[in-house]
Each structure stands twice: as structure tokens, then as C-alpha cells.
Symmetry: C2
Subunit: 557 residues, 2 copies
């Protein structure tokens, strides 16, 4: 191996300058290791898109060098793209038991379970992947069984934190391994990649255990049914709900597909302690009096199709929210979801329920799973990295994380804020950020992966705002005289019965446009179409201040 090619490279294929679709790579010469394979949900600028995944062109171009995928934990923004990516590139997957359980469920749904190589690891595993050996350390987060990853390369050690917080009183005694982190730092860390989700938040994130105390208190006060909505994947919180139900002699009902799935997987793998006989089917609820039931459900972010939204609007088939019932929203609304959550609270109050809602800081019913500023500094202090790359966050979070790193003594020139596709190359004693690899958003719409591009999205946007006007006319090939039509069809523009005069005028303008071109002896249909688009577009904008898509269809007969 010549010194020229002795190069360690670090890059993000997703997860920076955004929240979601995390995918990072650590490459030592010809060996590539992928960390995480997440998805993210589209905002309103991507109508009709189901999910967004990382563009993996770089991995496909270098397939033979890809040694495997390491998954730090089982959240969607870290595992959501696995089935789509595995279809294109079947690499071995390494993850802990719970994470693998969640991945297996996804692969099964896509019919990929048999063909994917899954390897269970834990915090004591050592993997040899090409020229790198990979070790792990336990962290705390809002899902159990999370790992930080340590890459031992001939150039030095690279640490990727995964998502983490420092919860010093964790539920289920799942402690973060601070001593191991200290040892890793003591032995020397060349580069640290650390998550930045809460880098804007001062202080220290409260322990998940504090939520359990508030849940128990609320359960003790309630005298009718209790509904509690939270993230299904927050197994620690689900455990605390189970514990509080047990202490207050209530049975547990699960509503929502992901809640049923996660509880099933987590309890069968031993991550949840579910007392015998505690679980009751929704259809059996009527055998119990209201003060004997806790209904644990999905939809805490206001998702319109999830259990909580259906309960709030009275559309759930099996269970009803009655006056005096208690409904606890054990989650803070993620930016963008406030309106939907607010609407659910409106509906619950209309059903005369008691509702515990609002920011987790106020209600005590939610804490973040991510490290706040003091914890991020603690991680930086433990690892003492030479180079620092803040990951997992929008630019403002990466920027704030940079300031924290500077505050604890990382040299300014050694901090790299990267965009997806930017590569940090470390060779010998120097690190540089001056080249890019392909990266981007791959859009999944129905069965299509990547077939919806800018043109389709732009058309969807025009169609959604002002609709479409289709003009159909048949013209004789011989003399360009109108044989039939023009007929006008519109959708999403104006309701036609209310605007017959407008449509008649459109026909009149179409005829006069066509006649003018006939008189000029044009038989270029492209010219006719352009002239019709121009004339009708201008007329409709003047009369309606709307710009529908205009499709002239000329049939030559």
C-alpha cells in the first residue's frame, strides 16, 4: 500500500443539512463501510411522494468495495431505507438484536428476508471488515440497544456516536458505557462524528425515568379510561406505561399497527416485561369497566390515519373516547406537526375528555432522546478527537455543534461541516474537504424508486394550484380546417357549471387562433399548439388570475 493511496475518507450520503435519511460511510483505501440506512418523510414540496431515501450511486459504482452496513439503532431515519437499498445492493447488515428484529419485519414486508445477510452484534463484538476492525459501545437513546461505532484503521480511530443522550438513571438499567467511551478517548480518537439533533438546546436532557413518574401520577388520578399516545419504538416508555398500568390495576390495550408490531418484537426478544394476562384485545374492552383500562396507541404526532386521530374524531371501530376519559399525549409535536396535533386536541375536548398535551417540558410526559448541549460537550470531552464532523442535523444544528466543539477545545480548522456528498480525506497528518461523491434524494412513489423527478414534481405543483385545461380539436390534414371541436375539459380549475361563459369564450379564442394560423397556411401542429397555449393562458390569467396547465390536443383527420 503506497502512502499515496493510504487514505481514510469520511462522508455523508444522507443526514446532514437535514433531519432524516441518515447514511454515512467510512472508507479506508478500497474498503467501504456504510453506517445506517434511513429514510425521511417528504414535506409539501414533494406532493405524492411516499418516502425519501439516500441516492446510493456511489455505493453502486463501488459495489465490490462495500464490506457491509452497520446499523446503530432501529429508528426509521436509520433503518427506513434498508429494503429499498438492499434491492439495489445486497450487502451484509450488522445490528443489535432489537434493531435486527425491526429490520427483519421490514424485509419480510418487502419479501427480502430470505435473501439478506443479517448478522447480530452487541457492544462487545469486534468485526473485521477489510482492513478495518470495528468495535462498539453502548449508548442511551429513545429506543433500546443503541450503539456507537469505533473504526480502527491504520490511519487512526474514527468514532460515530449514533444517536445518543446520557441518561444516568435509565429505564431497564440500559446504561451508556461511559467508561468504555473514556478508554476510547484516552487511547486517541482521530475523528469523531457526533449527532447534532439537540445542539441548539442548552442544558442536559432529562432522564426517561422522569416521564415514568408523571405517567404513574396521571394514572393514579384518572377514574375512567386512560389513553396514552407515544412513539411505538420508545420501548422504555412503553415499559413505564406497562409498569404504571400494573401498579394501578389496569389492563393494557394496544392500538395501531406499529404499536402492536413493536410490542410484539420487543417483548418476544426480552426488551419488554409484560405481565401475564395484562394484554387485552380491543374487541374485549367492553368486558372491563373504564377504570380498568389503559389504551396505548400510535398517532402522537397527529398523523391523520393513526389510532389517536381516529379516536379523537370518533372514527375508531372498536373503542370510543367518552366524557371524563383521560388522554395523554406523551410526545412533543415535531415542527410541522403542530396543526395536526392541535386539531386532535380540539376534537378530544369536544368529546369532553381530559387532555394532557403541550410541550414535554411543561407536561413532564415527554423527554427527548437526544443529547443537549452539556451532553454533547461531555461526549466531545470524553473522545478528545483531533478532527470533528458534526452530523445528523440541519445546518443550524451542525453550526451550534461546531461552537460547542470549539468551546471544549477542538481546533477550529479541524472541524468540518459537511454537506451530503462532501468527503473529508485524512492522509498522514492532514485532513482536507475538497472533493465530492454523488449524493442526493431518491424519491419513492408507490412502487417507483427514483422515477419521479423534477419535471413530474413541477407539473404536480402547477396542477395542484390551478388545475388543468384540456382543449381537444380535430383538424383536417388536407386544409387544416376544423372538423370537430374545439372541446374544453377542465379539472381542478373552476367548476364548469359555474363558468360556462368562460369555457365558451375559451372555445371562441381557440377557433380564432386556429383560423389565423390556417390563413397563414401553417401546417406545423407544434405552432398551433404553442399559439393555443399562449392565447388561452393569457386569456385565462386575465379573467381569473390563475395559471392552469393548458394541454392542446390536435387530432389530424
Amino acid at each position: 500500500m503506497s502512502p499515496k493511496t493510504d487514505r481514510l475518507s469520511i462522508a455523508a450520503l444522507g443526514g446532514v443539512h437535514e433531519i432524516g435519511k441518515n447514511m454515512y460511510i467510512v472508507q479506508y483505501n478500497e474498503d467501504i463501510i456504510v453506517i445506517d440506512c434511513g429514510s425521511k418523510f417528504p414535506d409539501e414540496s414533494l406532493p405524492g411522494i411516499d418516502v425519501i431515501i439516500p441516492d446510493i450511486a456511489y455505493l453502486l459504482e463501488n459495489q465490490k468495495q462495500v464490506k457491509g452496513l452497520i446499523v446503530t439503532h432501529g429508528h426509521e431515519d436509520h433503518i427506513g431505507a434498508i429494503p429499498y437499498v438492499i434491492k439495489q445492493l445486497n450487502m451484509p447488515v450488522y445490528a443489535t438484536r432489537l434493531t435486527l428484529g425491526l429490520i427483519r419485519a421490514k424485509l419480510k414486508e418487502h419479501g427480502l428476508l430470505g435473501s439478506t445477510k443479517l448478522h447480530e452484534i452487541d457492544s462487545n463484538t469486534t468485526l473485521a471488515l477489510g482492513a478495518m476492525s470495528v468495535r462498539f459501545f453502548s449508548t442511551n437513546h429513545s429506543i433500546p440497544d443503541c450503539l456507537g461505532v469505533v473504526f480502527h484503521t491504520p490511519q487512526g480511530v474514527v468514532v460515530h456516536t449514533g444517536d445518543f443522550k446520557f441518561d444516568l438513571t435509565p429505564v431497564n438499567a440500559q446504561y451508556a458505557d461511559i467508561h468504555k467511551m473514556a478508554e476510547i478517548g484516552q487511547n486517541g480518537v482521530l475523528a469523531l462524528l457526533s449527532e447534532s439533533t439537540n445542539a441548539e438546546r442548552p442544558g442536559f436532557t432529562p432522564s426517561e425515568r422522569s416521564v415514568g413518574e408523571h405517567i404513574l401520577e396521571a394514572f393514579q388520578k384518572a377514574d375512567k379510561k386512560i389513553f396514552l399516545a407515544t412513539f411505538a419504538s420508545n420501548v422504555h416508555r412503553v415499559q413505564q406505561v406497562i409498569d404504571a398500568a400494573e401498579k394501578t390495576d389496569r389492563k393494557l390495550v394496544l392500538l395501531g399497527r406499529s404499536m402492536v408490531n413493536v410490542v410484539d418484537i420487543a417483548s418476544s426478544l426480552g426488551y419488554l416485561r409484560l405481565p401475564e394476562g395484562m394484554l387485552v384485545e380491543p374487541s374485549d374492552c367492553n368486558r372491563y369497566s373504564p377504570n380498568e383500562l389503559v389504551i396505548l396507541c400510535t398517532g402522537s404526532q397527529g398523523e391523520p390515519m393513526a389510532a389517536l386521530a381516529r379516536l379523537a374524531s370518533g372514527n375508531h371501530r372498536q373503542i370510543r373516547v367518552d366524557p371524563g376519559d383521560t388522554v395523554i399525549l406523551a410526545a412533543s409535536p415535531i415542527p410541522g406537526n403542530e396543526r395536526n396535533v392541535g386539531q386532535i386536541v380540539n376534537n378530544l375536548f369536544e368529546r369532553r375528555a381530559k387532555v394532557v398535551y403541550g410541550s414535554g417540558n411543561v407536561t413532564g410526559m415527554h423527554v427527548s432522546g437526544h443529547a443537549s448541549q452539556e451532553e454533547l460537550k461531555l461526549m466531545l470531552a470524553l473522545m478528545k478527537p483531533k478532527y470533528f464532523i458534526p452530523i445528523h442535523g440541519e445546518y443550524r444544528m451542525l453550526h451550534q455543534h461546531r461552537l460547542l466543539a470549539e468551546a471544549v477545545g477542538v481546533e477550529s480548522d479541524n472541524i468540518f461541516i459537511v454537506n451530503n456528498g462532501d468527503v473529508v480525506d485524512i492522509t498522514g497528518s492532514a485532513a482536507r474537504q475538497d472533493r465530492k461523491i454523488p449524493s442526493g434524494n431518491t424519491l419513492v412513489d408507490g412502487l417507483g424508486i427514483g422515477d419521479v423527478g423534477q419535471i413530474v414534481l413541477r407539473d404536480r405543483k402547477v396542477l395542484s394550484e390551478d388545475g388543468i385545461v384540456i382543449l381537444v380539436v380535430s383538424i383536417a390534414k388536407s386544409d387544416a380546417k376544423i372538423v370537430s371541436g374545439p372541446d374544453v375539459i377542465s379539472r381542478g380549475f373552476v367548476y364548469v357549471r359555474e363558468s360556462e361563459g368562460l369555457m365558451e369564450e375559451v372555445q371562441r379564442i381557440a377557433v380564432s387562433t386556429i383560423t389565423k394560423l390556417q390563413e397563414a397556411n401553417s401546417n406545423q401542429w407544434g405552432e398551433y399548439k404553442q399559439a393555443l397555449r399562449d392565447a388561452l393562458g393569457k386569456f385565462l390569467f386575465t379573467h381569473t388570475k390563475r395559471r392552469p396547465m393548458i394541454i392542446p390536443i390536435i387530432i389530424q383527420v
Copy 2:
């Protein structure tokens, strides 16, 4: 006047079970007085819609009884619908000087200034409108010159608070007239309508003056250009920016149409004290060094076309955010706007600006203009109403306001939570809520008021999610044989070059569908169209999991 018809009625035509489009009516027998005439902005469920205004069918049906429109203050959710409503129903408008100034600008834009009867009032005015006399009291809010309204009716006194807070150290000494409120309460209030925006918020809203202190402090620390974004209509805050600029020897630049308009109107009417020579045109900025400038701009809610968004993305024609400049977001993001605001902060950090952002509670750069729980209780305590109708808010806010009213001693049965269109009738000693008048959303799209209905919106939604597939075929009238086509045109569905095989298959299915009907001797074109829609819809869903709108066009030749 027989006792049978001696009826006082109160209703909302907009503003309850929602935030926005406020419009209330107080009717005594045959006399109707309208309070406020606001608009609201559509969410993503109403694609292409520009603005939503109240449905005024009830007022149109009873035109002769409408005595006038009283406007409590100049915010969009109280004045935004005036031009659209005045076009349909030209009633006299009563408002204070600043409010009238803002209304005049709107009417002028719509060419309605000459034809509208505008009457200036102040807190000492008494109006005689039909059988009612109307008086007013001063309140504090985030715009000057706000009024509460007192309706003296033969049945008793009705009070409408308008929007308010109790700011005991107001900017420009615009005190709320607590003594007058006490007197009104002492003389007896039959019914109180009080705003509920912050009914979920404990405590007492801080004084606007506290923001001024934080602004001055930030100005004193800044050593380059200062950008401050806030609501243009918050004249008190604009005054405090001017004051801080004066104290730190900076000139003021205004960016954004509404900022220029409001400052122009407010200073010409004497609501703003603007020192001579302080204002600088954007084009003259380069004559000053960076530490001599404050740029006051619109866009604090992340509006993509407003000044701040353009500055953040480097697209402003005249002024640039340079490294080291200070940018202050003097506003808390309204739910739904967090993502856009976050993106602006990302962009500003990328330009290496210092950014003051986040909740006003934390930055001190914003306080609400609405009363928190203790102030709402204070209003209830001052007015001591027999009947209480919480207004101006979503259901959860109305509900919390009800709890506050109960806490200060209003009888539970005398509190009415109404929806738009619900009427509270007070006759003699009893109040009842058991009838409805027409109400609803009127959608404004371009020049159309109310011409976009459910069908158009549903079509826009389908088009935006999965696009449109148009199939054109000419069929002989005689034997239903295909003469030309079928041709397929798609927009917003898939990019056609990437899916030629799919489109060929669509053609093949269309031919076989048509052939089958020919063989069955059908010449019902409706049958052909339905069969094509069904066959193509099924095929496309199976192969893409998308449901585009399918428009078969059959030309008979």
C-alpha cells in the same frame, strides 16, 4: 315591540373553532351590527387558494337590517376580508384612525375607496345604530388603537373585547382603560365575548416594553449591519427599533412592501415617531458603513417570498447579509411555520451571520399581543358578565377559556361555546343556543370569490399526488373502429421517457378495451369511457401503486 320578538342574538360568522377570519354579529330584533371582517390563510388542504373569508349569506339575506361594520383593530384576521365583503354588501365601516388608515390602503388596492362609507371613531365615541347605542374602551394589543366594544341594548349590555392584553407599561403610553372597564362591569354586563388566543397559556403576558430592552442591548453589542424581522403591523415594536437605532447612531432601512406601507401610514397618522433623516433608501445603503445601519424587514414567519427569506438565500437585489452581521428574528414562529423559519436560520448561518432566533420566551425578542390566563381572568373579573361566550380561538382555547370563566365564578350553564353559525338568543331572563344561521368558508382564488368548491379542490388534490393520464382516441361513428390513436399524454405521473414500456402497455390495454366493447356492439361513448377509466386505473395501480386521474377522450369521426 312584543316580548315575543324582543330578542338579542349573538353569533359568530367566523373566528371560533379556528384562528382567523373573525366576524361576529350582535343583533337586536331587526338591527344587525357586524364586528370585524377578517381573512385567514389556507393550509395545504386547500391548494391554490389565496385567502379564506367568511361566508356572509346571512348578512346578504338581511341586508336592510345591517346597520354597519365595527372594526376593533387593523390586523388581517380582523380587516382582511373587508374588500371582498364590501363588494357584496356595502355597509358603513367604523374604526379608529390607524385601523381606518390600514383599511383605506386595502380598499384603494381594490378600487373601492370612493364607494365605501368610512367613519372614524375613538374610545370616546358613542354610535346610535338602530335600537342599539355603541360605546368603546381602549385596550392593549400588538398594534395601536385597539378597541373593545360595548353594545347597549334594551335587553342589557353586550361587551366584545376585541384582541387584548393588559400591558401595564405600554410603549407610547397607550394604556388600556381599566377604569372604564371596571365601570362597565360595575353597571352590569349581560354578555361578554372575550378573545381566547392564549387561553392555554398560564400567567401574564410580558410587556412589549421588555422587547425594547432586549433590542437595545443587541444593537449595542452588534458591530456590523443589523437586520431585524418582525410583523410590520407591530407599530410599538417598530417604534422600539427606531428608538434603539437612534440611541446607537444607526440609520433605518425598510425592506418589504407591508413594512414600507405600515411605517408610511403609521408615521403619517402620528403613531410612529421617526426622527428626521433616519430613513435611508435600500439603494443608498452603500453610502454607510455596516455599523451605521439597521435593516427592518418583513418575513419573520419564514414566508418564502418576503424580504428575510430573500436576504437569507442571497437573492435580495439591493442588500446582502455579510459574515458577522447580526440578524434578529423578533417573532415566535406560528405553528405551521417552524420549518420555513428553520430553513432561513440555516441559510443565515451559512452566510456566517450571528442569528438571534427561537422562542420569544428565550430570546426576549418577542412577546405575544394576547392575554394569558391571568389577564383573561382579570377581564372576566372586571366585566362580571352573566353570560360568557369565549371567541377567537380553536376549540381547545375556547374550552380552556371556559374553565377560566368557571374559576372566576361565571355559572357553568351560562357559558356558551359556539361554532360559526350557532346563535345565542337572549330573551328576557333566559339564554339559549339552539338555532343556526348560514356560515362557512368562502374561498378566494385569483379573481374568483367562492367559485372554487369541493369538486375542484378534490381534483387538485388527486392531480397533485399522482398526476393525470389523458388517453385520446378517434373512433369511427359508423362502426366504432379505431381511426387514430390511442395516444397517451401524462403530466405529473411519471416522466414519460423513463416509462415508455408502461405507456405502450396503456395503449395496448386501451385498444383491447375498446375492441371488446365494439364486439359487444356498444355505441354508448359513456360506456367506453368508463371501461377505459376502469381498465387503465387498475393496470396503473397494479404496476405503480399510484392512482392518477384518468381522462379518456373519444373523438367521433
